[in-house]
Symmetry: C2
Subunit: 395 residues, 2 copies
């Protein structure tokens, strides 16, 4: 029992930390509650309830299903739901008219046959990437509404009135959702994407700097037998690993956010046709850069771990090369930081051009000096240059 208590307390603590890390999550929960409370007013006030009747249920259903964390997600689902319901209702009423004109024997077959055909086609269309990215939810709702209206037409009399009521309640639900989501502490998918991009650049910069620093500072010590220092070193290394991992695994969330951000109305400094697709390109370049950094980190790890490295190699890398490399890494980090700053400020900065030029000079200097160094460093700089190109495209 005590063990169970402990687990409950631990769970509570974790939940608290999640809320404390990002209070917007707790706010999101409150917003959902508020939207539902608003919708439930339709049940309590007599004139409103008389207007929509039992179909008020659909407003509640819509609020629960459509409410999303970001405004983009909410608008995407809301629009998809409203449009899909309306279009499916129109199609279904047409089929209903045909079915009711045919004989009693034929009627169920026409209804079920049309449901079968449309559902199969629509489900298959969800595998097409273009449909998947924009209308995945809409297709589900289309199937849902179509089959409900077409099939229940067999039993329900006033189908047109029922459908109309349903569409209007869904519209009410969607507008309550979008209003609550966008007016009270909105979370914009575009802004999230923007911040994540700048943050990832900073993380990469920190990773590059610390890895190269580590490599040369550890090799300047005389012997590889320094176990007491390794614990703090490995903690820092783990943090760096985490940074790189975070950049590497950013693809899925980035794609999802870019998809949702397209649905958002203009807000803040994000215009109507903000180039969200460019963020994906920058993200891809950053991941490319992160692969190189990861490979570099692995190089450093394999070079520092086994003491099998020839002593001549170790001493050689302390000389002129070490200084040049550290300088290149520092400049590379600076370029990334400048790029992150200019992305965050949405402006080209002269300092960025300057930093890139300096880095180019340092790279050329280094290239003159070294042939024996791992080519990964050069490579990484190539990538940084490529990243810069894409970034400048964005701005």
């Amino acid at each position: 029992l005590a063990c169970r208590d402990n687990r409950v307390i631990g769970f509570g603590r974790r939940a608290w930390r999640i809320g404390a890390d990002d209070p917007r999550r707790a706010v999101h929960g409150l917003k959902v509650g508020l939207a539902l409370a608003l919708v439930s007013v339709f049940y309590y006030t007599r004139p409103l309830y008389d207007g929509v009747g039992g179909a008020a249920m659909w407003a509640v259903l819509t609020v629960v299903v459509v409410f999303e964390y970001t405004v983009g997600g909410c608008v995407y689902k809301g629009l998809n739901r409203a449009i899909a319901t309306a279009s499916a209702a129109v199609v279904a009423l047409g089929v209903h008219w045909i079915a009711s004109k045919s004989g009693d024997k034929l009627e169920p077959f026409i209804r079920s046959g049309s449901v079968f055909l449309l559902a199969a086609t629509a489900t298959f269309s969800r595998f097409i990437p273009a449909v998947k990215a924009r209308f995945d939810y809409g297709v589900t709702i289309f199937i849902l509404t179509y089959s409900l209206v077409a099939v229940s037409g067999y039993r329900v009399g006033a189908l047109v009135a029922m459908t109309q009521q349903r569409v209007s309640t869904i519209a009410i639900g969607v507008s309550i959702c979008v209003a609550t989501c966008a007016l009270i502490c909105p979370v914009w998918a575009g802004q999230e994407l923007h911040r994540a991009t700048a943050r990832n650049m900073d993380k990469l910069a920190a990773a590059v700097e610390s890895i190269v620093d580590d490599y040369f500072s550890s090799s300047s010590k005389p012997s590889p037998s320094t176990p007491p220092a390794s614990s703090s070193g490995s903690a820092a290394a783990n943090a760096i690993e985490g940074y790189i991992r975070c950049v590497l695994n950013s693809k899925a969330s980035e794609d999802a956010q870019a998809n949702l951000a397209r649905w958002e109305p203009p807000h803040g400094r994000f215009g109507f046709r903000h180039p969200y697709a460019q963020y994906r390109n920058v993200g891809a370049a950053m991941r490319h850069c992160a692969y190189c950094v990861e490979a570099l980190a692995a190089c450093v790890r394999s070079a520092t771990q086994p003491p099998a490295a020839p002593p001549g190699h170790a001493s050689r890398r302390n000389g002129h090369l070490g200084g040049a490399c550290t300088q290149v890494a520092a400049l590379c980090g600076r370029v990334l930081r400048e790029a992150s700053g200019s992305v965050a400020a949405m402006a080209t900065s002269g300092a960025l051009d300057l930093a890139v030029a300096e880095m180019g000079d340092a790279v050329r200097e280094l290239q003159d000096d070294l042939r024996a160094l791992p080519p990964s460093t050069l490579l990484m700089l190539d990538e940084a240059a490529q990243l810069f190109t894409v970034t400048s495209l964005l701005i």
Copy 2:
């Protein structure tokens, strides 16, 4: 208009290719249609309709929403939906009893207040990773059912009968879904995961072999000015790039499939407690390996593209090193292929041990020879060894 026709034809052709690439997708569409047609029988047959009444709508709704491509997804959603509906109904009936006992004035506030509180808490709980991975859908349905029952209790008389009917129709919908999904050409998430893992290993093997082959075969030609050959070469390089990209971007789909595979009943050679989590570890090791291959590919690209490489370097790499490197790469590819084969067959193979031992020998030979070679190759072999370790854990 002709342009529009062309677009329609192009769209149709793409859709056809998607279906032809994987006929199971078309079959999935047909299955959804079939399940809906089965459910619609509840409307047509008088005794069945009398049994469930207007609540038959909920069975249709359940089928549309719960039906998923893989069996795991279907079972996950079905169980979540059924359990969440039942538990939410019980809680809501309790609150309904309390609310109906309180005064007329207080009643709406108790109902809406409880909806607000529960919805806010439940929505917040979806941010907790453990809940998100297993019960994300269930929490949504819990909120939905709870607010429907609690709020509509204000107007509807026979709430208990209504709730009971709803739960039973949802159970009917879920069982139709799971039966159709699992009995007719089932698509198992576990099997998909298994195949994807083996396929990705094969892709990595092909990538490693072809990159190193390319590097040494292109450098054995006297000059870097071979534009006619570069077109076919770049096509092959693009294919390899695609392979690596595919492995690198596999994380999201792998995680999702491992999550869903947990819900699947035992099938084929996949037992009840098949170690799906291990697939994730293997996947992570493979991605790690892919980073190295990607870095290696970039190295090769930067080395072959600019003719600025010193001639001495180019001639040196054709000698003994070239042969040794190609051999190591070939062995590394063989190890990966053996590992893929043994994963596919779910058995340890003696050939794998042999191949790893041979590769180890070749690496040692190479290490003796080279100091000037990019360390990435060594690194990659380390990774392959690590991959092997994880794989052997799995079997």
